[in-house]
Amino acid sequence: MARGKYDIRRYPGFLPMTVLCLTLLYAPLIVVTIYSFNDSSSITNWEGMSTRWYVDVFVGVESDKFKSAAWNSFTIAMIAATVSTTIATLAATGMIRAGRFRLRTLSFGLISLPLMVPEIVTAVATLIFFNSIGFVRGYTTILLAHIAFCIPFAYMPIAARMQGIEDSYEQAALDLYASKFQAFTRILLPLMAPGIISGFLLAFIISLDDFIITNFVKGAGVETLPTAIFGSVKQGIKPNIMAISTMLLAISIVMVTISYLVSKSDNTK
C-alpha cells in the first residue's frame, strides 16, 4: 500500500479517521470490561484484579433480581425470535416465491414499518393499545411486542438469502415428482438455512437488547435485564453492573460472530 506511488484511491487522513472511529467505538467497551475486574467497591479507584463482582452478580444482594430478569430476557428472546423467524420465513416465501401481486408493495411497507416508526412511538402505541383493550401488562405483553418488532430484523437476512437462490432448484424438484410442500421442505428450506439462522440470531439479539419498548409495556414486578440494569444505573453505576455488562457484551459478540460465520458458510461444500 505505502509504496509512495500515486494512488487515486488514497486520501491522507482517512486512515487516522478510521482509527479514531474504531477507538470511539471500542474504547468504552474495553474500559468497562477492564473495570469489571476491579477489586474495589468504588468504581473510581483501581485496586487490583478480582472476579468478586462476577461472584456478586450470582450470589450478591441483587442476584435474585438479576437472575429472574435474565431468565425473563432469555425466554422472551428465545420465544420471540422463534416466532418472528417463522413468520418472517413464511412472509419471505410469500413475497419472493409467489409471483407478482397488487398488495406486494403494501406488504413490504407493513413488514418494514417497525423499522421506520421511532421506537419510542412504537412503545407508546403498544402501551396504549394494551391499555385500551384492558390487557394486563406483564410477561405476555412484553413477548407480544417483541415478536412484532423482531419480524423485520428476521425478515431482512432471510429475504436476502431467498433472493439469491434461483427458483430452478424448486422447479427441478417439481419436475422430479416432488409436491410443492416437499420442494419447500426438502429443497428451499435447507438452502435457506444460513439466512434463517442469521435472521433468528439477529431477532434474538434485538429482543435481548430492547429497553424502550419493554420499559413501556412491562408491568410492575416483571423486569428484563435491560430494565433491571437501567433501574440500577439510575442510582449510579455500580461495579456489579459492569460485570453484567461485560457478560452481555460477551454473549452479543459470540452471537454476532456465529451469525457472521453462518452467513459466510455454505452447506453445499
Binding site: I8, R9, Y11, G13, F14, M17, T18, C21, L24, L25, Y26, P28, L29, V31, V32, I43, I87, L90, A91, T93, G94, R97, A98, S107, L110, I111, M116, V117, P118, E119, I120, V121, T122, V124, A125, I128, F129, S132, I147, A148, Y155, D167, E170, Q171, K180, L208, D209, F211, I212, P226, I229, V233, I237, S245, L248, L249, S252, I253, M255, V256
Partner: protein
C-alpha cells in the same frame, strides 16, 4: 417485460403462488394488530381527555394539542399565544440529532471510504468490526460511555495524569455528551450505506478526473461525492431519524437540562404526573415529522434512480 417473459418466464418465481395468502397472513396479522392498530389507537388517545392518575377519559378534547402549541397564561384563561416550552424541546432534539448526524458523517465517511478501498478479501472483516458494537446492548454502550466520560472517570484520570488538563473536563450532562452518545448509538447506520455506495463506485471515473488535471480533493468534491450522494443521504437519514426520538442517550448522558423528545414522551407515561393524551399527541407529532422526512427521502431516491436509469 416482453424480453424477460420470452426467456422462459423466470422473471420472478411463482412456485408458491397458490399458498400466497396463507404465507403472508401471519405477518399481516401480527403487524396490523401490534403496530398499525396501536398507532391508530394512539391517534385517538391524543384527542381524549386525560385522567389524573394516568390513562384517559373517553371524551373528545383538543387539550393535548392545545397544551403543546398554546400558552394561555397562568390561569389558562387568556387567548392563545405560542407556547415555546415544547416546541423548544423539539427544536433542541432536532438540533442535537443534526449535530450527532454531522459528527457521524465527519467520522463515518472517511471510515466507510477507507473500508471500501481495502482489498476485497478483508472488507467483510472491517465491516464486521464496525457492526459489532451495534449489536451490543444499547443501554450497556450508553452506560459505558457515561462511565468513561464521568468527571472522575478514566478519561479525566488519563487527562489529569498526563497533565493535558488541570481540572477535570465536565462532559457528562452537556449537549456534547448527548451528541457523542447518539453518535455512538447509530454510527454503523452511517458507515454501511456509504460503504455500499463507495464499493459500487467505478474508480475509473476518478482516474478520468485525475487524467483531466483534477487534484485529489477536486476529484473527491466534483466526481466521487456526487456519485456516492445517495449513500451519504441514506446514512444521514438512518442516523438522524432514530436520534430524534432516542431516549437513553439524552436521559443518561444529558441530565435534566438537556431534555429531548424521548424523555418528554416517557415522562407522560411514568408515575402519577403522567398525561397520556399529551404523550400520545407528542408521539403523533414526532411520528409525523419522521414520516415526512422519510417520504421526502423516498421520493428523492426514486428520482435519483430514474435519473440514473
Amino acid at each position: 417485460m416482453a424480453a424477460g417473459a420470452a426467456s422462459g418466464g423466470s422473471a420472478r418465481s411463482d412456485t408458491y403462488k397458490a399458498a400466497r395468502v396463507w404465507l403472508l397472513l401471519p405477518s399481516w396479522l401480527v403487524l396490523i394488530c401490534l403496530v398499525l392498530v396501536p398507532i391508530a389507537i394512539m391517534l385517538v388517545y391524543s384527542f381524549l381527555t386525560k385522567e389524573f392518575r394516568g390513562g384517559v377519559i373517553w371524551e373528545f378534547s383538543l387539550a393535548a394539542y392545545d397544551q403543546f402549541f398554546c400558552s394561555r397564561g397562568l390561569f389558562g384563561d387568556e387567548p392563545c399565544t405560542i407556547e415555546w416550552t415544547y416546541i423548544s424541546i423539539f427544536w433542541r432534539s432536532i438540533w442535537q440529532a443534526g449535530a450527532a448526524t454531522l459528527l457521524s458523517l465527519v467520522i463515518g465517511f472517511p471510515t466507510a471510504y477507507f473500508i471500501a478501498t481495502r482489498p476485497e478479501r478483508v472488507r467483510p472483516i472491517w465491516v464486521f468490526l464496525i457492526t459489532i458494537p451495534y449489536w451490543v446492548n444499547l443501554l450497556i454502550r450508553t452506560v459505558s460511555m457515561k462511565f468513561v466520560l464521568r468527571d472522575q472517570g478514566p478519561l479525566n484520570d488519563f487527562l489529569l495524569a498526563t497533565g493535558i488538563v488541570d481540572d477535570p473536563l465536565r462532559i457528562v450532562n452537556t449537549n456534547f455528551a448527548v451528541q457523542l452518545g447518539l453518535f455512538y448509538s447509530y454510527l454503523p447506520f452511517m458507515v454501511l450505506p456509504i460503504y455500499a455506495s463507495v464499493e459500487r463506485y467505478n474508480f475509473s471515473l476518478s482516474e478520468a478526473a485525475a487524467d483531466l488535471y483534477a487534484s485529489k480533493w477536486a476529484t473527491l468534491r466534483r466526481v466521487l461525492l456526487p456519485a456516492v450522494k445517495p449513500g451519504v443521504i441514506a446514512g444521514c437519514i438512518l442516523v438522524f431519524v432514530p436520534s430524534l426520538g432516542s431516549f437513553l442517550a439524552p436521559d443518561l448522558l444529558g441530565g435534566a437540562k438537556n431534555f429531548m423528545i424521548g424523555s418528554l414522551i416517557e415522562e407522560q407515561f411514568k408515575g402519577n404526573a403522567g398525561n397520556w393524551p399529551f404523550g400520545a399527541a407528542a408521539s403523533m407529532i414526532l411520528l409525523t415529522m419522521v414520516l415526512i422526512i422519510l417520504l421526502i427521502f423516498a421520493r428523492q431516491q426514486a428520482r435519483a434512480q430514474k435519473g440514473a436509469g
